[in-house]
Structures are given as C-alpha cells and as structure tokens.
C-alpha cells in the first residue's frame, strides 16, 4: 500500500493536468465553432427573426431560406456549383498530370540546366497569385481569356505548379532507383515506367496533391473575381460574394447562402482530411 503512494500522487496529478488540457482545448473548440454556429442559426431564421434576434438559436428552425436558395433558379446556386466543379476538376487534373510529369523529370532524369530549371520553378513560390494578379490580368487580356472559365483554370494550374512539383519530386525521389533500372533493362521506355510503375506506386502522393489542389481551386476567389464578368460563369465563391452585396439587407438569406456554399467544402474535408493534411505537411516539412 505504501509503495503505491507516489503512483497514486502521480495519477492524480496526471488526472488534474489532463482535465486542464481538455478544459483549455474545449474553450478553443467553442471559439472555432462560434462563427459557424451563429451563421447556421441565422440561416434557419426568417428575415424578421434575424433582425430582432440575430444570434440566438432558431426555435423552431425555419427551412424556407435554404429551400429558396436550392430551388429558386434566380439565385443560380446550382449553376455556380457547376462552374466551380468544372473549374476544380479541370484544374486538379491539370495540376496532377503536369506536375507529376515535371516532377518525374526532376527526380529521375539527368539533363543539362536541370538545377537552373528547378530554381526557376522555385521562384514561383515568391511570386504568389495575390501578388501576380495584376500582371497576370494583362496576359489574360492579350490572350482573350477574360470572361472565360479556361482563363481561371489555366491561371490556377500555373500558380499551383511550383509547390506541387516540389512535393511530388520529393515522393518520386524516395522510390528506389533499382526499380527504374530493371524496368529499363526489360525494355520499358521512360514514359512506360512513369505511367505504369511510378504513378501507381505514388498514388498516396497524387491523392494528397489532388486533395490540396481541389481545396485551393474551390476556395479561390481572386482569380474568378478578375477573370469572370458574366454572372452565368460565376463560381460559388464569386457568387457568394456577389450575393452578399446584392441581398445584403436580407441577412438571413445571405446566411443561408453562405452556409450552403460551405457544405461541399466541409463534406470534402471530412472525407479527405488525411490526404489534405499529408499534402500540406509534405509540402511544408519534407520538401
């Protein structure tokens, strides 16, 4: 009994520190959820209720705003959704394909000016789209890509190249080179090896890059904002911003729109969290 005294003390201290840990973390959880919960409360109220009690729980919840946005074609929710999906899928396939091609060359081939070429791509990291947007706008105008979803897609791909080439190069370098040697001896061309052996092996890395690009593309507002003029081509983010400007007096309706526009991201996040996290940490830490 006496021998267990220190153990007991250790246990109770541990219990105390654990409770404190959970207490602090729970406070942070509340702070993280606060804006989201208030938004959802607002989305479930009538316009009048929102004006009188904007942040109280909606009792009983009113589903009219959500229904209106999903069903009323004037709000073009589904059209924006479609545009966003289109841009996201095109940009993501482009990024995955183009970056893995280039990363393969950098990881697995020897050629003159390789380091120079790689450094040039690295430079892209210091010229992010938020800084480049005005210069990029000139180019898009010259190429007649203004008010065209292709303009959005190509720019999104171009500014995702640097980071993702580096992530994939890291993964490709880690795949044993004996595999490549034996494939070449068996008569594989470089492309065969890349397409049939390397890419299937690198599937987790490709999934990480794809998940990350999907989030970035879906959430992007800046590029659509300067490229797209006609409302038929608005993406969901651009549409959300415009909606807030247009229906600003009906904040319950705005809340409903914003809440609905967040739903795809949240669902995607819950399913692809592992890929997103591994893409981000690979990019930032492993290189």
């Amino acid at each position: 009994m006496e021998a267990s005294q220190p153990l007991l003390r250790w246990r109770s201290r541990r219990l105390l520190s654990r409770s404190l840990q959970y207490l602090i973390l729970s406070v942070v959880v509340v702070l993280v959820f606060m804006p989201i919960v208030i938004l959802i409360f607002g989305a479930l109220k009538t316009r009048g209720e929102f004006i009188t009690h904007p942040y109280t729980p909606p009792i009983p919840p009113v589903w009219d705003n959500l229904k209106a946005i999903l069903e009323n074609p004037n709000y073009s929710f589904w059209q924006m959704m479609r545009n966003s999906l289109l841009v996201m899928l095109a940009a993501t396939s482009g990024v995955v394909l183009i970056c893995s091609l280039a990363a393969f060359a950098f990881a697995r081939m020897e050629f003159r000016y390789k380091h120079l070429a790689f450094s040039v791509f690295t430079l892209g990291l210091m010229f992010p789209i938020n800084i480049a947007i005005l210069p990029v706008y000139f180019v898009l105008r010259q190429m007649n890509l203004i008010d065209n979803l292709w303009g959005v897609i190509l720019v999104q791909i171009a500014f995702q190249l640097s980071g993702n080439i580096m992530i994939l190069r890291g993964f490709f370098t880690a795949i044993p080179s004996e595999l490549q040697d034996s494939a070449y001896i068996d008569g594989c061309t470089a492309f065969d090896f890349f397409w049939r052996i390397l890419l299937p092996l690198a599937r987790p890395a490709l999934a990480a890059v794809a998940a990350l690009t999907m989030i970035v593309s879906w959430n992007d507002l800046l590029v659509p904002l300067i490229v797209i003029n006609s409302d038929k081509l608005w993406t969901l983010q651009l549409g959300t911003m415009q909606f807030q400007g247009q229906y600003g007096q009906d904040l319950a309706l705005v809340s409903a729109f914003v809440a609905l526009s967040a739903v795809p991201t949240v669902i995607f996040y819950l399913f692809a969290e592992r890929q997103i996290v591994s893409g981000l940490t690979a990019g930032a830490i492993k290189g």
Partner: protein, 315 residues
C-alpha cells in the same frame, strides 16, 4: 540513377545509334517538362517582365502604353502615405502573427500532444477554419463584428460586462487591424498547429523521457528539449506566416476594403485598388514589382540566415 546517363554518354561516343538514343532521351525529357514550362513561362515568368515594362509608363490600360515616365511610378509610390501605411500594416500583421498566433498554435499543439485521447478530433476541428474559404470566413465575421450589440454577437457579449461599451470594431481606425488579426488567427492557427503537431510527432519520446528521468520539470523539458528539436518546423512556420501576411487580400478586401481611411490597407489591397478600381495600370504594376521584391528579398535573407536551403523546396 546516377550511372544511367554516364552509360548513354559512353554509347554516344562509340556508335551513331547511341547518338540517336541520346537525342530521343533529350526529346523525352523535353516532353515531360514542356507542359509545366509553357504554363509557367506564360502565366508566371512572362507577367513579371511585362509588368516591369508597364511599370515604366503612365498607362490607363487602353491602347498601347506610350506615356513613358521612367522610374516615376516607383518614386511616387514611396512618397505615398497610403503605401507606407500598407507597409506598416503588413509589419503589424507579421509581428502579431509571430508573437501571438504562432506561439498560440505551438501551445495548442503541445496541449493536443501525442497521446491525448481524442487528439484526432481536436485536430480535425482546429483545422476546419483553414479549409473554409476566405469569402465564407469574411462574411461570418462581418456578422460577428456588427457594431450594434443587438445584432453583432461580439458586442452583445461585451456589453454584458460592466463598464464595457459596444465598439465598431471594423469601423474604428484604432481597432480595425486588431479585429482583422483576430480573424486571421481564427483561420490560420490550425495550419500552424498542424505543422507543429507533425514536428512533435517526429521527436522520439525517449528523449523527453530521458530528460524527465534526469529530473527536468515539464517546463524545462519543453524549453530545453522539445523547442530546440522543433527548430526546423518553427522556422518553416515563421517563413510561411511572414509570406502569407505580406499578401493578405480577400479577407481584408471583403471586410473593410482597406478602410476606414486606409487604416487596414495592405500591399495587396493597395495594388488592387490602383490596378482594378482606378485602372492606373502602370502604377499598379510598379506596386506589384515592389511586392515581388519584398518577398524575394525576405526569402533570400531568411533562407541564408537560417541556413536551410531545402526550405526553398518546402512550401
């Protein structure tokens, strides 16, 4: 991998067939790199040079640029009080991020730790704001910051305390930056926490265990063992935080448009205003070049000082 090209070099000298092979190899390499290079050249490299060119003109964007003004745009920018304000605000955001946001993220990462039951749930929740778009974030916080305590939740909570008064957080030149910083912290702390969590994961528990056995308190353990071992993660996180702070745009633009009276102007909103609102494209290009130079200079100095060249490969 290393000896493959050497062998094909040897072949090339001996037989013409080798030359063909080598040519085809070069051709393959070009094919692999071409798509990336074209897009990168067209949308990243070319715009840099083009905006250097336009920055030397007084150009409204219609017709060719003919009004050559030399470096006048660059000089005018430096003497514009609003630009200096934007620089100052950028420094404010950087400083606050480094002093408040990153230590907070680190503290939370340590709290979540390695073996806390439920740590995955905490991670998922804390990282959620990072994946929500900036538009959604901005609109949610606009609601919260509403100056009327009947409508804005933050002021509603505030007036519960005796002596506290409702504030127009985003409408007051003294509070607007702080208010935006709170939103930035809400959105980005999860990202930095994630980096630290990964860094912590890579520290073998034995080392801290050994420290504990040698009689180090948990605080000593943290400052003398954990923190130094997290060094490279912290340096990466600082780098990303500074670069991110310099280019803040969407959140600020939606919430305050850089106002009131330029009190929350950032370099990016300043450039956007001149480029896309006033259509002074030459002037805007010069701002873009300043921003590019700031990022480039910072990156080069930082990478030199921290002596970790592989940061360049790590964004």
């Amino acid at each position: 991998m290393e000896h493959m090209p050497a062998r094909s070099d040897a072949l090339q000298i001996r037989s013409p067939a080798g030359a063909v092979r080598r040519l085809r190899d070069n051709f393959t390499i070009v094919l692999f790199l071409l798509p990336a290079m074209i897009l990168f050249a067209l949308f990243v490299i070319y715009p840099i040079f083009q905006s250097i060119y336009y920055s030397l003109f007084d150009w409204k964007g219609f017709g060719p640029a003919v009004d050559f003004v030399g470096l006048e745009n660059f000089i005018n920018i430096l003497s514009d009080k609003v630009f200096l304000m934007a620089l100052r605000n950028g420094l404010f955001i950087i400083l606050f991020s480094l002093v408040i946001q990153l230590p907070l993220s680190l503290a939370l990462a340590v709290l979540v730790g390695r073996d806390l039951p439920g740590r995955v749930i905490f991670r998922t929740i804390f990282f959620l704001p990072y994946v929500l778009s900036e538009v959604i974030t901005a609109i949610m916080w606009l609601f919260l910051y509403n100056p009327d305590p009947e409508r804005g939740f933050i002021n509603a909570v505030l007036v519960l305390f005796p002596g506290a008064e409702a504030q127009p957080w985003l409408g007051n030149t003294d509070t607007v930056l702080l208010a935006l910083f709170v939103v930035l912290t809400w959105k980005y702390f999860g990202f930095h926490m994630l980096l630290y969590l990964t860094g912590l994961q890579n520290i073998p528990t034995e080392i801290e265990e050994a420290g504990r056995i040698d009689g180090a308190s948990s605080i000593q353990n943290f400052f003398y063992i954990t923190l130094p071992l997290l060094g490279s993660t912290i340096r990466t996180s600082v780098y990303l935080s500074v670069l991110g702070s310099i280019q803040q745009f969407i959140l600020v633009w939606i919430m305050t448009k850089g106002g009131p009276v330029n009190a929350s102007e950032t370099l990016a909103t300043y450039m956007y205003r001149f480029g896309f609102v006033r259509f002074q494209l030459g002037y805007g290009s010069a701002v873009a070049i300043y921003m590019f130079l700031i990022c480039l200079t910072f990156s080069l100095i930082y990478l030199r000082l921290t002596r970790q060249p592989d940061y360049l490969t790590g964004i």
